[in-house]
């Protein structure tokens, strides 16, 4: 194998101009546009659709809850995808939102996570197949899920068994960001205590949440990650309707005892979540999916392929061996007739 010699540091005498590469990359990326896939997982009625619509400031998905008595119950978790193209300041974002109606709603919730895990793995395997073909396209459409928003119901006590099992399984295949839904039902003390308990439970069960530790982060990024980790799970309130506060029309909820402003940091942590998802960690989420989860999936698949192909070879050899002794038997036994 060829070894690369240690590079020598050189000083430049004049301006070369290769620092414009960043701008060239930017231009290329602008043309191509970004692709971001989110999956929302949580029980009925926790405000998943509303939150997505609030984060991206547009009506993207409809609530799929059971609103009338004639509607039947969903017997299993379903996967429903919608795709939108959002454009802001010349930057185009193709957004895939995967909703999971029926999750956790049945009486017997065993294996309600399987359709979700299957869907996520299917996206990985589709990408892998496209990678492995001989005639590969220049730019593969990335349908792998980059982020999973997991909704925790605001009981105030602790995580439910279903939550823990699903979080464990999900955190192995996708970046999971837990979120406390409808957090306007918790007072500040309750919220703090609830978060503490959730974090201790997550630690107890060894559930790895995004953002992950990595050696390549510099200090600034690490500090940012730490602050995010402090705040997880985000306690949010979502709203698509506007209310008037101090003459301004903002998104919020009005009750007889007060008005909640969704964008007010004091009221809820929606702003942090939104910034986290869109302004600071969007690219990181995509990269982590590609580098960590997809690579893990890929290596497992290829190993399995190799094993299965070697097993096939072994079986073929065995068959050949079995065929030979039969032939030998037939030889001397023939003259009986």
């Amino acid at each position: 194998m060829a070894t690369i010699a240690e590079p020598q540091k050189m000083n430049l005498n004049g301006y070369v101009g290769f620092d414009t590469i960043t701008r060239q990359i930017e231009k290329k990326l602008l043309k191509r546009g970004f692709q971001f896939n989110v999956i929302v997982v949580g029980q009925t009625g926790l405000g998943k659709s509303t939150l997505i619509n609030t984060i991206f400031a547009a009506h993207l998905i409809d609530s799929k809850g059971r609103t009338s008595s004639e509607e039947p119950f969903r017997q299993t978790t379903e996967i429903q995808t919608v795709s939108h193209l959002i454009e802001e300041n010349g930057i185009r974002l193709r957004l895939n939102i995967v909703d999971t109606p029926g999750y956790g709603d049945q009486v017997n919730n065993e294996n309600c996570w399987e359709p979700i895990i299957k869907y996520i793995k299917d996206q990985h395997s589709a990408y892998l197949r496209k990678e492995l073909t001989a005639m590969r396209e220049r730019y593969i459409q990335d349908t792998r899920i980059h982020c999973c928003l997991f909704f925790i119901s605001p009981t105030g006590h602790a995580l439910k068994p279903i939550d823990i099992v699903v979080l464990k399984k999900l955190s192995e295949v996708v970046n999971v960001v837990p979120v406390i839904a409808k957090s306007d039902s918790l007072t500040m003390e309750e919220r703090v205590a609830f978060k503490r308990r959730i974090k201790s439970e997550l630690g107890f069960h060894n559930i790895k949440l995004y953002p992950y530790d990595s050696d390549e982060l510099d200090d600034h990024e690490r500090a940012l990650n730490d602050s995010i980790k402090q705040m997880i799970p985000f306690a949010i309130v979502g709203s698509e309707k506007n209310v008037v506060i101090d003459g301004k029309s903002v998104r919020g909820r009005r009750n007889r005892w007060g008005v909640i402003n969704v964008e007010n940091e004091q009221h809820c942590e929606f702003v942090h979540l939104r910034d986290f998802l869109t302004r600071t960690h969007l690219q990181d989420l995509i990269e982590t999916t590609a580098q960590i989860h997809y690579e893990a999936f890929r290596s497992k698949q290829l190993l399995a392929l190799k094993e299965s192909s070697s097993k096939q070879q072994q079986q073929q050899q065995q068959q050949q061996q079995q065929a030979q002794p039969v032939q030998q038997q037939v030889g001397p036994g023939a003259p009986v007739i």
Binding site: N108, T155, H267
Partner: protein, 510 residues
């Protein structure tokens, strides 16, 4: 005083007859229209229909006493025409004496003439007359009551107050069960409802630790204004928390049934029938999470099962997460769901009491954007619910749970244990059943006779066959013996001939 059979309605007798004729024709198809009076009214349904129509037409009820004796349509006609009945007091010596000495007797003493029993056989009639029974209206019938006009104050209007005083002293019992997923605020609600910290700490329960639903009843005794309330709050931690919630209802239903069972055995035992300790659940508060959508499958299934056993009051938990419009829409959706699934909830007369939000120390919850006051009607319906439970419906709850639910349970249990329906249900059907059973027994007897006869016939045939065989055999034997006898005779005859020849030969030789 009402005189039986008085035709004082102003109808002509023919009119009445025609009307009854019409009624009968309406209900029965007749071959011969002239024999409508002879139709027997044995079928209780038919009898009921015809007589009901007659009563509504002629606006005159048939007293229970007479109902028994109306067996054909003719009897009904006779009743309405008032043919047979007479005022028995006319000419009655005791009645005349009563009329003469009215002022000497106490004012509320009256004379009721003895009515001859039509359905009683002659032998029994004498017996009853001797024993001096009042006119027996028949089994399970209520004798005719008559209104009494009081001429002086009696003082029975103090009766309700007496009852009230007595019940005030006995302690009330109220057993409430709370069912709902963990974290919906059940414990906090109970504390708020009774204004006392029933459970000292609300430590967060760890939902993974509960594998099944526990039933934890806690007993309290609350005293207010001289009235004691023995309150039992049954909590169900662990409901709805596991992955597989199919069997979550089983412990709850078992508990409810066990309480009914205990009450039932207590009712039947002679010793402590007076003061049965009532542990039956009177009210079940079902907490619904504030999703905003319709009810989940688990909720609907649980409500269906539970509302058939106890009074269920559904409650929207943590309603401070909903705005006014959301709340109203949510309530409507829930009510529609409840109706569509035939769930009977308790306060169907109070449509707008169903919510709760509460907290322990401060009677309100303070958020950064405002403070929710629990007892403010504008904020939540807690006041309504408390009013419902305590003032309006406390007794209602107790009564419904006893009369409806407990009796349902009891009826089910008794029917399943094979006890026949009450034989005193209705007189006609009782007779019917007796007749039917008689018939069936007669049929059985006939069948058995047939069987026995056939058996007998078979046996006779067998025996005959046997005997014939034997006869055959004997005939054969006889023939055999006869044949032998013939042979022997022939042999004898031949020997005799020989002897004779020899003798002759001998004689001729001399």
């Amino acid at each position: 005083m009402a005189i039986l059979g008085d035709n004082s309605m102003g109808f002509e007798p023919d009119e009445i007859k025609n009307k009854i004729h019409e009624v009968v024709l309406k209900h029965v198809k007749l071959a011969d229209k002239n024999k409508w009076m002879d139709i027997k009214l044995n079928d209780p349904n038919l009898k009921f229909e015809i007589l009901r129509d007659c009563m509504s037409l002629t606006d005159r009820n048939i007293p229970n006493l007479e109902l028994n004796f109306i067996e054909t349509v003719g009897d009904a006609v006779k009743f309405y025409l008032g043919e047979e009945k007479k005022d028995l007091r006319i000419g009655h010596p005791v009645a005349t004496w009563f009329a003469e000495n009215e002022d000497k007797l106490p004012p509320n003493m009256t004379f009721i003439p003895y009515v001859k029993e039509l359905g009683v056989k002659r032998e029994n009639r004498k017996k009853l007359q001797k024993k001096g029974y009042f006119p027996d209206p028949g089994p399970w019938k209520i004798p005719q009551t008559r209104n009494v006009v009081l001429r002086d104050t009696l003082g029975i209007d103090a009766l309700p107050r007496q009852r009230f005083n007595k019940t005030k002293r006995t302690p009330y019992v109220l057993n409430i069960m709370v069912v709902g997923e963990s974290g919906l605020g059940k414990t906090t609600f109970m504390n708020t409802l009774f204004n006392t910290p029933l459970k000292e700490e609300i430590h967060p329960k760890n939902p993974q630790s509960t594998q099944t639903v526990e039933i934890s009843p806690v007993h309290y005794e609350l005293v207010e204004d001289g009235v004691t309330l023995n309150l039992t709050v049954v909590d169900t931690p662990g409901f709805g928390d596991q992955l597989n919630r199919e069997h979550n209802l089983d412990p709850i239903v078992e508990y409810i049934d066990n309480q009914f069972e205990a009450y039932h055995t207590a009712e039947r035992s002679p010793e402590f029938r007076r003061a049965i300790p009532d542990t039956r659940i009177h009210a079940l508060l079902y907490f619904i999470p504030p999703t905003g959508h319709a009810l989940k499958e688990l909720d609907i299934k649980s409500l269906q099962v539970l509302s058939a056993k106890v009074n269920v009051i559904p409650v929207i938990a943590k309603a401070d997460t909903l705005t006014q419009e959301e709340k109203a829409a949510f309530k409507k959706t829930i009510l529609r769901d409840i109706e569509a699934n035939d769930i009977r909830i308790f306060p169907t007369a109070y449509p707008d009491d169903r919510e709760s939000v509460e907290d322990l120390e401060v009677r309100g919850r303070s958020y950064r954007w405002g403070i929710v006051e629990v007892e403010n009607e504008q904020h939540c319906d807690f006041i309504h619910l408390r009013e419902l439970l305590m003032t309006h419906a406390l007794h209602d709850l107790l009564e419904t749970s006893h009369t409806v639910h407990y009796h349902n349970y009891r009826a089910q249990k008794l029917r399943s244990s094979g006890r026949p329906e009450s034989i005193l249900a209705c007189d006609d059907s009782y007779e019917h059943r007796i007749e039917r059973s008689k018939q069936s027994m007669a049929e059985e007897m006939i069948k058995k006779e047939e069987e026995m006869r056939q058996n007998f016939v078979m046996k006779v045939r067998e025996k005959e066959a046997n005997l014939r065989e034997r006869e055959e055999q004997l005939n054969q034997r006889r023939q055999q013996l006869m044949a032998e006898l013939e042979e022997q005779r022939l042999a004898l005859a031949s020997e005799e001939r020989e002897f004779q020849e020899l003798y002759n030969a001998n004689r001729s030789a001399r």
